[in-house]
């Protein structure tokens, strides 16, 4: 078969692979653009670049998603985004946070946790809010990149009805040209997803319906 293909394009006059990528838009305020695009898709944006905003932001996320627990897989997630200190804040706990972390293999003992327990696959179906950290974000389209790595999986960010993504401001890129110049395809894990807003469909009379097979709600929290 390969020989057949080779013979078929043997005589073909090709053109050189274009070198210079076309211009992609730049923004003076990428955060504002990111927010605008995310909200256009039905996503919800929170600015928590001031760490003291975090308790209020998290409270709001939990209220909006009608959840009392957050599930996540990445051990460093909350540390990386400056959360441990915040969550130790008694005020936050007083508002009824019940934070579970989970892991297939090992018990995690992060200082921030009130409760830590082993995560079973069967629990996935009843998780109402999951959290992950975005490797990268793109202002042009309000997108975030979800990476699968060792110690994490593909399902937790897609099965629950609500998902919250932490994005660090330094990982926010301008546009897709920048993104695909630096996208670490296959370098860390087997899957990577560019997420832009909640799951949606327009298969019925082109009417937009939010929340089909994936999360109905997508929150993005921008941290510094």
């Amino acid at each position: 078969m390969l020989e057949k293909v080779r013979r078929a394009c043997d005589q073909a006059e090709g053109v050189e692979l274009p070198g210079q990528s076309p211009q992609f838009p730049q923004y003076t305020d990428p955060v504002a653009k990111f927010r605008q695009e995310l909200e256009r898709t039905g996503g919800v944006f929170f600015d928590a670049r001031q760490p003291k905003e975090l308790p209020a932001v998290l409270t709001s996320v939990m209220k909006q998603s009608d959840s009392t627990e957050i599930y996540w897989e990445d051990e460093q997630l909350f540390q990386r985004h400056g959360l441990p200190f915040t969550l130790r804040n008694p005020e936050a706990f007083a508002k009824g946070f019940l934070v579970y972390s989970f892991h297939f293999r090992q018990e995690m003992k992060l200082p921030i946790l009130l409760n830590s327990k082993r995560y079973e696959r069967s629990e996935l179906a009843r998780v109402s809010l999951s959290a992950s950290s975005a490797g990268l974000g793109v202002a042009e389209t309000g997108s975030v990149v979800h990476e699968v790595r060792s110690g994490a999986g593909r399902l937790l960010s897609v099965l629950p009805p609500a998902h919250v993504v932490f994005l660090s401001e330094k990982d926010l890129l301008m546009n897709h040209a920048e993104l695909f110049r630096s996208l670490p395809l296959g370098q860390y894990g087997s899957a990577l997803t560019l997420v832009t807003g909640p799951s949606r469909t327009a298969d019925i009379e082109k009417t937009l319906v939010i929340g089909v097979h994936g999360p109905k709600q997508l929150f993005v929290i921008l941290t510094s």
Partner: protein, 470 residues
Amino acid sequence: MIRISANTQAALADQKLQRNLRQTLSKTLHSRNEAVSDVPNWEELRQYARDVKTHTLSRLADYLLELEGKVSEQGGRVIWAETGQEAVQFVLDLAHEKRVAKIVKGKSMLSEEIHLNESLERAQIEAVETDLGEYIVQLATEAPSHIIAPALHKSRGEIADLFVAKLGMAPSQDAVEITKTARKLMREHFLTARIGITGVNFAVAETGTIVIVENEANVRLSVSVPEIHIALMGIEKVIPRTSDLAVFLKLLVRSATGQTMSSYVNFLNGPRRNGELDGPREFYLVLLDNGRSKILADDFLRQTLACIRCGACLNVCPVYQRIGGHAYGSTYQGPIGAILTPQLRSLEEAPEHAYASSLCGACYEVCPVKIEIPHILLRLREKVQGEKNQKAAHLPFEKLAMQVWAWVMCSPSRYARLGRWLRILQKNFEENGKLKLPFPPFNRWIKHRDLPALPARSFKELYSSSEKQP
């Protein structure tokens, strides 16, 4: 043999179909145009994408080999399938070997092309379409009528009735309720299926990455839960570099749905790796030829394979807008279907596809990779006609008629005189301003077209009379 002409009358007379087409296509066209006008260098992007495709197609064998190497390195397996039958057989054998009773499927036109579902059904393997549009047409035991929006020909009411009848949904015309029903039902399938089958939008040769674009997350689930993932791709889907994706995704998404970006773009590099908590343990990539290398061999027609299946040419086509997708009688519809079908199969099997176009050129204008569809249609018509002409008896008559016509057209007075005669003659055949000519060759011509009667006075007469009375 597929006869489009046998299907058009029914499609045109179908009031429901006409209403559904009008409503949905106008919405799609509007959002596509908005999304494109937002991009100042759209033309530059089109040319860039086309150049990448032209380059890739001229070295397709090399890029496919590179892709295979990378996929294998990551623990996936590449299957080369020369025909649809070979691809189907691979899936059947694998399902049997692993004793799989249920498969979840992401939307894949390629699987429609090779009639995978029918074969799975015959082998008593349950194949569930998980994309909402695909699921709707599967429930209705129909084929997709649009390569991006499979159930575009159905109204909300028809879909609701289908869900009530087949799934016992509580009666509701609400798109949200219908979607909820599908979500609930599909969860069960996702969690119990052991093979996930998807299509492929792009395959990046340099990294061995399979790229799948979607909105619903049904693909994300299909490639996360089942223990085996099979991705089906036509050999033309390979692109050389990751960096090219920026342009291709921008073109594809805006052209297809008018979004700035679809909800999910999946980048998959083989099966799950050590330490990952879920994902398939086996990954297979099927590379399908099924007539593509034949298209590749023709210097002009090769560009047909640059298509990224955005569906924009369907939405904008005046023929598709009127007859819908099913009338084409083939997997691929609209302008791209009109050039792809006779080439993938044969002109004998699809002799009318090249004629299902008014050659208005709108398909070329919207094509994000600048495929010269109208010219390809003409080339295919030449081929069809060439075959006919070899045994043509009507040629001497046609030649004579043309000579007479030329003679008349060369003199204004001859032309005016012919007009006067025809106006007298036509009185016997005129009906409501149209001519009914029940003898050859006109009877065949007016079967599907109107032949308007000549007006009572010619332009010349009108002009000179208006000069007299200013």
